[in-house]
Symmetry: C2
């Protein structure tokens, strides 16, 4: 049963550079269609079926991404797509989300969700969301979804789990006693061993009243964003108001700005196979390798090549005698790097951005 006050706001304004050249500034990660031939954003919407109806799903994205967003979000009312004039990290987006939902339903309970992750077990994800709506609807608690770690990852923030809460739901809830930043390797190993730390997957569920109070207390500079949607029901007027507000906002995450300071957060255990598919090797993990451990998406001919991840859009890739490489042909560029250095794509893209002719490849 969908919660009658349940809303979802998907934050889809990201500009991740780790999937260049398949993803670009104009086609960030949430629009790449590697999985089932559908953009990650479309999959994020499909995951909400049976939990939140389309008319109560909103997407906050960047002004210049409205078109691909609308394309990936067919079935959503156009007025549910809202453009941020400037990127100001998740705190601003969450405050705006709070305002958007409050303007429609003062009892609204909102799930803040990501646009570019995968969940292996969608039914469990849906159940976790339903249980989180139930846990958040009285407005006493803000719910976050913690991801049980599978490795000592240093690329995520962690949330310390405190005492269990008897919610009588399928989903297990615990108090969130502490938000911690991306740890070093030794600390991450301790966290994993302790069993008390979960990954911060960036998903929150809150009653608009609870969120508003948290913002009032910890980030009052963001309140104009909460108020704008009620004050400006006309879409264009709202966008004009946002254009006034955004330049003056801090760039800060909702974790830093609010969640770390709030003491009534509870954490749902998100045991649904969350994957942020952060690098090319992570993408490869979702495909069956060939006999030589190559994962090929697209057209590729190989001679004595093994362990490679090949994405070859519209063109063909030919490999001879190379191993454990990531090779991505897309648009007007080709990337080649060892699998274990795929995270350095980011640096390369940044350097490219400083080249006089670099922008035509980004």
């Amino acid at each position: 049963m969908p919660n009658e006050h349940g809303y979802a706001v998907i934050l889809a304004g990201g500009r991740g550079e780790r999937f260049w050249p398949l993803s670009t500034t104009a086609r960030p990660k949430q629009f790449i269609s590697l999985f089932g031939g559908k953009p990650l954003l479309t999959l994020a919407l499909e995951r909400l079926e049976g939990v939140v109806p389309p008319e109560r799903i909103m997407i906050v994205t960047a002004a210049d991404l409205i078109e691909p967003t609308a394309e990936a979000a067919r079935g959503l009312p156009t007025e549910n797509l809202v453009a941020e004039p400037l990127p100001r990290d998740t705190a601003a987006a969450c405050a705006l989300a709070c305002g958007l939902v409050a303007a429609r339903d003062p009892q609204g309970v909102t799930a803040i969700l990501t646009a570019d992750h995968l969940m292996a077990d969608i039914e469990t994800f849906r159940q976790t969301l339903r249980d989180s709506f139930a846990a958040a609807e009285d407005g006493h608690h803000i719910v976050t979804i913690g991801i049980p770690p599978t490795e000592p990852a240093t690329g995520y923030g962690y949330i310390e789990a405190g005492e269990s809460i008897d919610t009588r739901t399928m989903t297990r809830f615990q108090r969130a006693t502490r938000f911690v930043e991306k740890p070093d390797a030794a600390t991450a190993t301790q966290y994993l061993a302790s069993g008390r730390y979960l990954w911060n997957g960036g998903m929150f569920i809150w009653h608009v009243g609870a969120m508003r109070r948290a913002l009032e207390r910890h980030a009052p500079d963001l309140l104009p964003l909460v108020e704008a949607p009620s004050a400006f029901h006309d879409r264009e007027a709202l966008q004009a108001r946002l254009t006034e507000i955004y330049p003056g906002l801090r760039k800060i995450s909702i974790d830093y700005a609010v969640m770390e300071h709030v003491d009534n957060i509870i954490m749902a255990r998100g045991a649904f196979g969350w994957d942020d598919v952060g690098t090319w090797p992570a993408v490869a993990g979702h495909f069956a390798p060939d006999a030589d451990s190559n994962v090929v998406i697209g057209s590729c001919e190989m001679l004595d090549a093994g362990g490679n991840v090949v994405v070859s859009e519209n063109r063909m890739t030919a490999l001879i005698g190379v191993h454990d490489l990531v090779v991505v042909q897309s648009g007007n560029a080709t990337l080649i790097c060892p699998r274990d250095r795929a995270q350095e794509v980011k640096q390369l893209v940044q350097r490219l951005g400083r080249r006089p002719d670099g922008s035509k490849y980004l």
Copy 2:
């Protein structure tokens, strides 16, 4: 001074696969423009300036390559381009060349030259040609140009040099006592150490009378090709006649068919920096490497990458942490292989040819 009976026939019907994907069936090696922005065939023509005038230069190529050949050979009379209906190796092409020149000038002295090699020292090449014309014009000898070997190469045939001949020319001539096939590594090392063996560069200079006699004796089945151009002065009639003759011809090289059996061959020492640019690393040898020993032709961004050969046509290549690779982006394909396995491109292309959709990449 150009020899007044001097002709040149460039054999330009090759289909080398070693430069795929830059070279393709429709654009073989002689048309790739890596050096000075000009096709190798154009460079082969430019090398003849001052030695053979354009009206006495002919090109024998394949029927379907006439268009790019004409493009690369602007300045040559159209009637000097002759199309072989089928590829039948160099013996047929040389017999046809003999007939083409004989039809114009019974005293013609013809240099058979290649379309897809480079010579570092063009002036010495020209002098070698002039001296070879002089040595061949009396019709007593067939001249071949031997290349002083710089390494124990196993990819070329060799010619054994006998006693020196006092020609009073800048070019040194010796008797060619033996043609030998591509040797194994041990034999090649012996050849190099002996100083008596030169590489067979596939260049010959002969009086049409001498060549005709050699064909009469050793390959009489090729005589119809020698006779066709005199019998059919009309271009279309000649092509029609060739279409009759070619299907019945053996596929055999001029070395096998004739030169190995002829005892009046003398060899000019071709000390002009001949290079058959047979592989991608050989191409790289003609360009100045960067500080990390990379050779880049086109657009490339690198992060901790060294020793690579990158050809990036119209698109950009990005390398992170890879070393000693050959990377070629061209048309609708990209090749990646270690430098020392570049010769395996040939196998890959052959495999590709057997794929149902392979032809669109060849």
